[in-house]
Point group: C2
Chain length 387, copies 2
Amino acid sequence: MSDDSDPRQFRFELLSTDTSSDARRGRMTTLHGSVETPAFMPVGTQGTVKTLLPEEVRATGAQIILANTYHLMLRPGLETLVAAGGLHRFMGWEGPILTDSGGFQVFSLAENVRVRDNGVTFRSHIDGSHRELTPELAVGMQLGWGSDIVMALDHLVGLPADESTVRDATHRTDRWLTRCVDAFADLGGDARAALFGICQGGVDPELRRESAASIADTAVAGCAIGGLSVGEPKPVMAQMLEIVGKILPASKPRYLMGVGSPEDLWMGVARGVDLFDCVLPTRLARNGALFTPTGRINIKQRRFAELHEPLDAECDCAACARFSAAYLHHLFRSGEILGLRLASFHNLRFLASQVEAIRRAVEQNAFTSAHALFLTRYRPVGHAENA
Amino acid sequence: MSDDSDPRQFRFELLSTDTSSDARRGRMTTLHGSVETPAFMPVGTQGTVKTLLPEEVRATGAQIILANTYHLMLRPGLETLVAAGGLHRFMGWEGPILTDSGGFQVFSLAENVRVRDNGVTFRSHIDGSHRELTPELAVGMQLGWGSDIVMALDHLVGLPADESTVRDATHRTDRWLTRCVDAFADLGGDARAALFGICQGGVDPELRRESAASIADTAVAGCAIGGLSVGEPKPVMAQMLEIVGKILPASKPRYLMGVGSPEDLWMGVARGVDLFDCVLPTRLARNGALFTPTGRINIKQRRFAELHEPLDAECDCAACARFSAAYLHHLFRSGEILGLRLASFHNLRFLASQVEAIRRAVEQNAFTSAHALFLTRYRPVGHAENA
């Protein structure tokens, strides 16, 4: 480049670090605005965070959302999104958007999946049509509809899997990353977006180290950690984070994919994670499972039928500020959609308030005590140990 | 009463009338605010207008909502609503609420329905429990949870029915009205609410006349016309309205129950109706059927997939002002709840804008030409004739 100005729209600044843990406080800047980190990204799978309007998502405290390339490429498709003026305009979300590469859903939702070195072929779960995803297509589509953060295509294997299968997929992910970097450069991605690589390696410490080193050596703007929170024990996930945390460059944002329980946000930040996403808060909400400061409850239980006060008196969300637990209970018992909306709003607000508390704690170099305080109150579901 | 002040919270003023039709422009005042008439009342069956928050319902232009006594008495029940501080507070709607008497749903939803002169017994469609509804219970419950407009209990028969069955039910409705008036007075209803009687009589002109005369002779604050829009031809509905319109007192509001297509609003106002309610706009919306100035469309049709502009350029609703028809199409095709919300909002806004146009036309003594203009553009579904 002959011009002095930096063409990159993306920046990550590390604002402060906690001395008693690996927790970090940062700021990510994109073409569509900045994101204070650590941050949780609500998932808008099909171009909408389920049940909510964009301004409601924003009002929960969310700064950036995630959308799924696999879903968007099948419906409405790249052409429609381009004709609409891009994904931001189509769905009315003006803030940053991160899209995944499609890999995760191809391997979990699609049929007749065949992986070759060139890419992956599959049949759409919607209409059975034959489709293909390559590193170049994944990057091209994400840039095409205007994502702010583009994820490299990765090869995911279901666990448990034997070591050679995991090794094979991890090495393929690393090879695909090189092609994603090239495609991103060819399309002038830097001028409008950022490319993140994805560390794989299953629960094998050695493969995780290899994969993290490969990403550390690559000119990506950020580093994602994939293939975790897929059923492995929580201490194993924590161990993998500790292993890759030592290798990934401190100057780039770290994104733990698919993680979104309150206790896992704290656990991940303690190990240096800056970004999280998960369908958990909105999916749980639609089942009536709501986060509270002491743990998850199910609003459909009889005990809420006559609770004529907010479910969570500490919460400032639309549901808690204006409606009683008894009303939420009634809406769920009656199968009313408004219940799904209010619950989704509440759970997203709860996670946003967790990362707000986390950010304040890191700024004050008091993350570990804040984490301990959280754990004295919040009782996770199904895990005796979770730190 | 020894006090000079009028204890009644309810008033109806006739502001102007149209000279070329029976259209009227009025204002109804209740404890929870006033309603400009003609007005359409969205239905919040179970204590929520389906998919929408109270402020969204208000933003469509709705001034008053309807809730269903049958549903509320079964779930959450009178006790819960009283403990919550009334239906307004429970559901967060601060404007006027009209509740029906429960009669319509008992006869259409409940099981083991037995009508005696004292009232009606039935089994709940939710849990099979034995329940009872009498004129006194219907009035007492509606006053108990704080309805602004209380409907008298009526006996509805499915059509077609033989003349003696209709006559029997109509006379029972008239007898029950007397008991409702007494119960309303005993409970001091006038100080906080209004009681409306319901004219029945099926499609029998003579029975309609009798029933209307009976209501005209009774000390009710308003007159409802029930048992229409249940499958009879549109010209028959119009004829019944013309018959009872001559008998019902002009000084009291007239409420045509269960009517809510755009063309029927205009048709009813032309015959002197002031109030309407119907689940049609919200139910249609959830099926993707949306009102436009030229008629109903279904947003799921392929032709909307690439329409990157508002569905209805004349509409100022949240859906049309901010999203494209292509996005609505995508949401419905993808089964996303946000689509149901936006469609519900749009259809309610469309009906509210119809009654706004109607009110302006009556004020200008130009109802008939406005009605004609509406009919030149709007093509009703399944009716060649509809005026």
